[in-house]
């Protein structure tokens, strides 16, 4: 059974998601916003993984077997959750000490 929608639509959506996320991560002043951008980039990658699995996987008669596309996606979602938790914890901790969440204030690592 071949999907009715062509693969490049999915890839377009994934690229859009990734680009929006990248823009957010690079441009947001608020650290929480940056985190959210990162989530979008990860999810863009997820869409790619699942789409390629669906179009080139076993159901399509390709070389891949099993559920690996979906497993990749789930692994990335779990990783993103962990990342968000750690990132938020860091942000809260920094806020407690610096009273700010603006990234341009976090320059104590400058050379």
């Amino acid at each position: 059974m071949t999907p009715t929608i062509a693969l490049w639509w999915y890839l377009l959506v994934a690229a859009a998601l990734f680009s929006i996320g990248l823009f957010g991560a690079l441009s947001r002043r608020n650290a929480v916003g940056v985190l959210m951008g990162i989530e979008l980039m990860l999810n863009g990658a997820n869409v790619n993984a699942v789409a390629f699995w669906r179009y080139t996987g076993p159901s399509s008669g390709g070389g891949l077997t099993g559920m690996d596309g979906q497993v990749f996606a789930i692994m990335v979602i779990a990783l993103a959750a962990a990342e968000a938790a750690v990132g938020l914890a860091l942000i809260i901790s920094i806020y407690r000490s610096q009273q700010t969440v603006l990234l341009e204030d976090f320059t104590s690592l400058h050379g």
Partner: protein
């Protein structure tokens, strides 16, 4: 059971007692407790030693000496230093010679210590604080204690030397004595003359000791041992003789024939002469006699003990101890005269006469006795040189007692005159009239006038016989013994030497003739100068107010004199020849000869038939000496004190020659001392210019090359290092802007980086 022989086997206790006293007094000084008690400690130590030494002596009596010296206890050795095939060890050796000398030293030292405890009491008030001028009692007490520490150590040295069983051990104690002699001559080291005399004594004896040391090393090299017992075995002596002449010995070592001066002498003779060198230094024989008169700078008990009775006898004792080596060419007949003994006899005879003649023209009471000591030591040495071994040892023993007596007596006189001068000085006010004895105008050119404040100058004395009766009586006894007046001890011993010489002269030995002639002449001179001394000191009216007020000395000083005078009078009776008229047989037939007449090498001495001629000659010499002395000094003693009659008899130049001691000191000053000073100056110059120049040059070169190094280091090496640092610093400063700390910037860079990689992949 009271076993005297086993007591004697522990004779090492004898030096131990005095050594303990020495250590105790040292502790007393260090803890600030020295003082009167130190004298008691020293007397107790030497008393115990003296008692034990008499016990040892008694144990050897009655022919037991031979058995005793072979007792197992005697051969105990304390191993000290393994050396090649041999072994240096400590041990004791007791034979008649050692035992008799030990007893003599013990008794004489005890008497002298008791005497010194009173004599040295002046120390307590001698030292004053330089700032306040008050008497510094603490220093005085410490110095008094130090004196007794020194003399105790000295007694240890002498006891140890006499008891030593080998030459190295003997040398050790010999040098302890040398050290104590140095310390005690210079005891009043604040006097430049005393410090000078101490130095002189030490360095002069060192010359002789060098010979002794070389001799010991040669013996060790040839025979592999320094043990007396082994050395004196006839087999060892034969081996020593077997080496042959010096030329042959050197030639054998070098591999080709050599001829050196005196090379035809045997090596055994060379060894003996080297060993004799030690005796010449220690016993003040010509030409090393110059230190002994100067040694009189020390306190009088020291003069008595070290420089009359004991230490100076050590040199004679050494020859006696090593006698078999001297006579090794004729082992079986020890009283034959062989090679090296000619040198010994000649040196002794020359010393005996020269020193006696110098003694005629001295004014210092102790110096007269010092020259007399040298002269008497010369007697002993020349006696050994002609094989009169027993007579020499006999004279050694009798001389020790009467010379100690004379020195202590002179000390008593000096003490008295000093007190008298002090008293006269105190009461100067009313005494002005006759205290002003003018300085005697000297009529003798080149001879110093008497210093009226010198308590030792005989010209300041006179009349002391009445002021100090006990001192006078004992001094007279000692003088009669020294001058060889019959019955007194010196007569018997001196007469035995001269009789032996006379006997050998009959056998045709020219050296014995020399010894007899010079010895008899010296006996005459001895009697003369001793008569001069007695008359100048004790007879006539007092020459100064000091002599007029001199009191008799303290009992602790006088009673030792009495004890010693008993020995001086009676000791000779043990050695009266059997054939002597009237008393010879009655006195046991010369027991001393029977006791002493055996050697370690096994030979023994026979006593000669009594000959009246030498005895009469020596009595005649002594009597005429006394007679001449009385004629010149005894009849008008006051006049004799102001103008020495001897000068008018023998002429002023000759008198001056004697007064200046044959100019030997001046000769040494001009040659040896000036020479070594010049050599030192040259060395110093060489050191300052050549050696220092080389050292400074090396330093200069080092400094210059260091400067070059420094330039290279600071410019090249440091420059390189600084350049590296500067480059990395600049780069870092330039790279800093990348590290802005802004996360989003990093992220952007990372993104562009990924893009670039992707682009590179695609293109």
């Amino acid at each position: 059971m009271f076993d005297i022989a086993s007591l004697a086997a522990n004779a090492w206790l004898v030096p131990l007692f005095t050594a303990l006293a020495f250590v105790t007094i040292l502790i007393q000084i260090w803890t600030g407790r020295g003082g009167r008690s130190s004298a008691w400690v020293a007397i107790a130590g030497v008393g115990a030693s003296g008692l034990y030494s008499v016990v040892v002596f008694l144990a050897t009596l009655g022919g037991r000496a031979e058995a005793l010296s072979h007792a197992p206890a005697m051969s105990r050795r304390l191993d000290w230093l393994p050396l090649g095939a041999g072994q240096l060890s400590f041990g004791i050796l007791i034979d008649p010679l050692g035992a008799a000398t030990l007893a003599m030293v013990g008794i004489a030292c005890l008497m002298i210590f008791i005497y010194a405890s009173a004599y040295m009491a002046g120390e307590f008030t001698l030292y004053t604080d330089p700032t306040t001028g008050a008497v510094d009692a603490a220093v005085g007490r410490a110095r008094y204690a130090r004196f007794f520490a020194y003399v105790s150590l000295f007694a240890t040295g002498m006891f140890g030397f006499v008891l030593s069983s080998n030459l190295v051990q003997a040398l050790l104690f010999w040098e302890i004595m040398g050290l104590c002699s140095f310390l005690l001559i210079g005891f009043w080291n604040f006097k430049p003359s005393a410090a000078q005399a101490a130095k002189k004594a030490f360095m002069t004896t060192r010359i002789g000791d060098m010979g002794l040391f070389i001799g010991i090393m040669m013996l060790f090299a040839f025979l592999g041992t320094t043990d007396y017992d082994t050395l004196m075995k006839p087999a060892s002596l034969a081996r020593l003789q077997g080496i042959g002449s010096i030329d042959g010995w050197l030639g054998g070592m070098l591999g080709h024939a050599v001829h050196v001066p005196l090379g035809s002498l045997s090596v055994a003779a060379l060894v003996a002469i080297c060993l004799f060198g030690g005796s010449v230094g220690k016993s003040a024989q010509f030409p090393l006699h110059v230190w002994l008169p100067d040694a009189m700078e020390g306190p009088t008990p020291v003069s008595a003990m070290i420089h009359a009775a004991t230490m100076v006898s050590a040199g004679v004792f050494l020859i006696a101890r090593l006698y078999p080596i001297f006579s090794s060419a004729t082992v079986d007949h020890p009283d034959m005269i062989s090679g090296p003994m000619y040198a010994v006899a000649a040196v002794g005879a020359l010393t005996a006469l020269l020193a006696a003649t110098i003694g005629m023209a001295q004014y210092d009471i102790k110096r007269v006795l010092a020259y007399s000591t040298i002269s008497q030591l010369g007697y002993m040495v020349m006696a050994l040189g002609i094989g009169a071994y027993v007579a020499a040892v006999f004279h050694l023993l009798t001389h020790a007692f009467f010379k100690a007596l004379l020195f202590l007596g002179s000390g008593s006189v000096i003490h008295g005159v000093e007190h008298g001068m002090h008293e006269a000085h105190e009461g100067h006010g009313h005494d002005q009239g006759h205290a002003a004895h003018p300085a005697h105008p000297s009529t003798i050119l080149g001879v110093a006038d008497a210093d009226p404040h010198d308590p030792q100058d005989m010209r300041n004395m006179g009349g002391l016989g009445k002021r100090m009766p006990l001192t006078y009586a004992t001094f007279l006894a000692g003088t009669l013994a020294l001058t060889g007046i019959p019955v007194f001890s010196g007569f018997w011993s001196k007469d035995e030497i001269l009789a032996d010489a006379f006997h050998k002269m009959g056998d045709g030995h020219w050296i014995a003739a020399l010894v007899w002639v010079l010895g008899t002449a010296a006996a005459f001179v001895t009697a003369f100068y001793m008569a001069r001394q007695v008359f100048m000191v004790f007879a006539g009216p007092p020459a100064t107010s000091g002599a007029a007020k001199a009191p008799e000395s303290a009992p602790a000083m006088v009673y030792p004199l009495v004890v010693l005078s008993l020995f001086a009078v009676f000791l000779g009776l043990v050695g009266v020849p059997t054939a002597f008229p009237l008393i010879g047989a009655w006195l046991g037939g010369n027991p001393f000869h029977h006791y002493m007449g055996h050697l370690l090498s096994g030979g023994s001495f026979e006593s000669h038939a009594f000959n009246a001629l030498p005895a009469l000659a020596s009595i005649g010499a002594a009597a005429s000496g006394w007679g001449l002395g009385y004629a010149m000094y005894g009849r008008r003693p006051a006049a004799a004190r102001s103008t020495d009659p001897l000068a008018s008899v023998i002429g002023v130049p000759l008198f001056r020659l004697l007064y200046r001691k044959y100019y030997v000191d001046e000769l040494y000053q001009a040659t040896v001392i000036r020479g070594s000073v010049a050599l030192s100056n040259f060395d110093s110059w060489l050191d300052r210019t050549a050696i220092d120049g080389a050292v400074n040059g090396a330093g200069w070169i080092g400094e210059r090359s260091s400067r070059v190094n420094n330039w290279i280091d600071s410019r090249v090496v440091d420059g390189t290092v600084a350049l590296v640092a500067a480059v990395s610093g600049e780069m870092s400063r330039w790279m800093r802007w990348l590290q802005s700390g802004r996360i989003q910037q990093y992220l952007l860079l990372a993104f562009f980086g990924v893009l670039i990689f992707l682009a590179m992949n695609v293109l």
